[in-house]
Each structure stands twice: as structure tokens, then as C-alpha cells.
């Protein structure tokens, strides 16, 4: 399963938007099998913050653990956000 974050916009900053994005993919999450890898693709994302990430990435990680794979994470705000989630998470 592949989640293209750019479909939620190129500026992913608020908690509220993160919550809404998670709610939007919830029906798909319910149908995935036990061994399905979930790829989260950051391509096209310009601004990314810990507030949005806490509501989306952290919650998916808590639920699916190592089945989550992150791709195209080169953008500076994506890198900085993922790093602080790792450090403080």
C-alpha cells in the first residue's frame, strides 16, 4: 500500500490537518492484510512539521510498526521533523 502525502497538500503543518488525513485513509487501513508494507511517500511535500507528523506518522507507526516504510524524505523540513520524532518519540 502506498500513501502519497502530496495528495493532502504540499504544506502539512497542523495537528487538525494531520488528524483529518489519517481519518481519510482509515477505510484503506482496515482492509490491508497482516503482511502488507505501508509506504509513505513524501515526494512533493514542501513544508512538514512535528504537529502534523504526530497525528499521522506517529499514529501509523504505533499501529503498524516496522511495516511502515518512508520514501523521498530528502526535503529539509521532512528530514528535521522525522529526526525529532525519532529523538523524542
Amino acid at each position: 500500500m502506498r500513501i502519497e502525502l502530496k495528495k493532502f497538500g504540499n504544506m502539512l503543518t497542523s495537528r487538525q490537518d494531520g488528524k483529518e488525513a489519517l481519518a481519510a485513509i482509515e477505510p484503506q487501513l482496515k482492509t490491508i492484510s497482516e503482511h502488507t508494507i505501508i509506504e509513505i511517500d513524501f515526494e512533493g511535500v514542501i513544508t512538514f512539521t512535528p504537529s502534523w507528523a504526530d497525528e499521522f506518522i506517529t499514529k501509523l507507526s504505533d499501529r503498524f510498526g516496522e511495516k511502515i516504510v518512508l520514501t523521498h524524505t530528502e526535503n529539509p523540513s521532512v528530514k528535521a521533523t522525522l529526526r525529532i520524532l525519532k529523538e523524542l518519540g
Partner: protein
């Protein structure tokens, strides 16, 4: 007839939403100079005040410290969705600045975290004016955010009652993992802000209550100090 409008120090103070003592201090410090009558009384020309207010930080500060009223509509974000719209415009403006290519997304993320914090922590609890003032000047490379909310100390005391003053509250907000939205166990926003500005050519002044948190481009460390003025909400100036 006098063509230039003169204002006394008391009237100027009321106009700017500060005290006469503050204006005297600003005059001594050369921050906002007063003129003097032959009897050595301070006074100000309206045009001096207008010029001062063109400074986006002074404008935000005057709004936070003054009597409750909505800021000018051009800078006012009453809801988080309006903030998002203006933040998107900032993102577009900074994307066009060649030397920011490597980190403009970091600046937008910093502004996003500070602005969204104001909304998240004051939802349903705004003391008077709902929402924030958000303004930027791409020529001067400055961004200001301000809210007339609960402030950092009151927000954090809900989850950590042992915090005794505004200085400790700011240190906690910028360095400890804590959330003012208990029982939610999050709160990485200001830690993220500090971490990324320490690594780049970004300066931050953040005021809340009777304290300020300062990270200058030179010092490259967080410095929290007591200030004379009391900010009941939060006020931030970002220079890049």
C-alpha cells in the same frame, strides 16, 4: 495653525498600547526617540508614530500589549484555516528567495509550529480576541506572530503545576517534552523550533508573560531572561 500633529507622552503611550515609563525607556535606549519641548517635556509627532508602527514587530507588540481589539484584517488570522492560507503565501514568497532554497521549508515549518501552537493551546479559551496576528516583511526578512491567549506559563501549569515562573515555563517549552494539552502526550513543536534554528541562520525572539527566549544568529544557544513588560499571550519575531 499647526500642520504636524503633536502627541504627549501619555497619549502616545495609549496609542501604542504601552506605558509612559516604557516610552521613556525606549527614548533613553534610542529605540524610539521622543522630541522635547523648550521646557524639556517629551512629545511625539504623529508621523514618528506611524513610521514606528510600520515596523512589523512594533505593530505586533503594540497589539499584544494594547487594549483588546482585532488587528488590521490584512494580518489577522481569526482561525487556523486562515493562518494556513497566509502561511501558504509565505511559503510561496520564500520559495522565490534564491539564497533560502536550502531551508525555506524549515522557516515555514517554524512559523507553522509557533502559529498552530497558539490555536491548539487556546482553543475555546481565548481571553479576549480570538486568533493571531501574523505578518511578514520579505525585504527586511522578518516574520512576526502574536496572540492574546493564555501564555506559556498558564498553559504548561495545567500539566506541570510545579513550574513557578515565566522563565522556567519558556525553558520547559523549548527544551522538555511536555504538552499543554493533557492528557495528550505530545508537544514537540517548540523543541523542533529550537533545534532547527540553532542549526541555521535564523534568529528568534519569543516573549510570553514576563520572560523572553532568545536565540541569536551569533550566540547559537537558548537564552531565557526576565523582561519588564508583561505579555499576557505570546509574541514572536523571526529573522532569517
Amino acid at each position: 495653525m499647526e500642520l504636524v500633529k503633536k502627541l504627549s507622552i501619555a497619549k502616545t503611550a495609549a496609542y501604542l498600547g504601552v506605558t509612559s515609563t516604557t516610552l521613556r525607556r525606549w527614548d533613553k535606549a534610542g529605540k524610539f526617540l521622543a522630541r522635547r519641548t523648550s521646557g524639556n517635556q517629551r512629545y511625539y509627532y504623529q508621523q514618528d508614530i506611524d513610521l514606528y508602527l510600520q515596523d512589523i514587530f512594533a505593530q505586533a507588540k503594540a497589539w499584544v500589549l494594547g487594549a483588546p481589539k482585532e488587528p488590521e484584517s490584512a494580518f489577522y488570522c481569526p482561525t487556523s484555516s486562515e493562518f494556513k492560507g497566509r502561511l501558504s503565501k509565505l511559503q510561496n514568497a520564500l520559495a522565490k528567495t534564491p539564497d533560502l532554497k536550502e531551508y525555506y521549508s524549515i522557516i515555514v515549518a517554524v512559523v507553522g509550529e509557533i502559529g498552530n501552537n497558539s490555536f491548539d493551546h487556546n482553543l475555546g479559551n481565548w481571553p479576549d480576541i480570538t486568533g493571531i496576528l501574523f505578518n511578514y516583511d520579505v525585504n527586511k526578512r522578518q516574520i512576526t506572530l502574536a496572540d492574546r491567549g493564555q501564555g506559556v506559563l498558564r498553559t504548561l501549569k495545567r500539566v506541570k503545576p510545579s513550574i513557578e515562573n515565566d522563565e522556567v515555563a519558556l525553558i520547559t517549552a523549548f527544551t522538555e517534552k511536555i504538552s499543554g494539552r493533557a492528557p495528550e502526550s505530545r508537544g514537540n513543536g517548540l523543541k523542533f523550533v529550537l533545534q532547527v534554528i540553532l542549526e541555521r541562520d535564523i534568529q528568534l525572539e519569543f516573549y510570553s508573560g514576563g520572560a523572553t527566549a532568545l536565540v541569536t544568529k551569533k550566540s547559537k544557544k537558548l537564552s531565557v531572561q526576565k523582561v519588564d513588560v508583561y505579555y499576557s499571550g505570546c509574541l514572536a519575531l523571526i529573522r532569517y
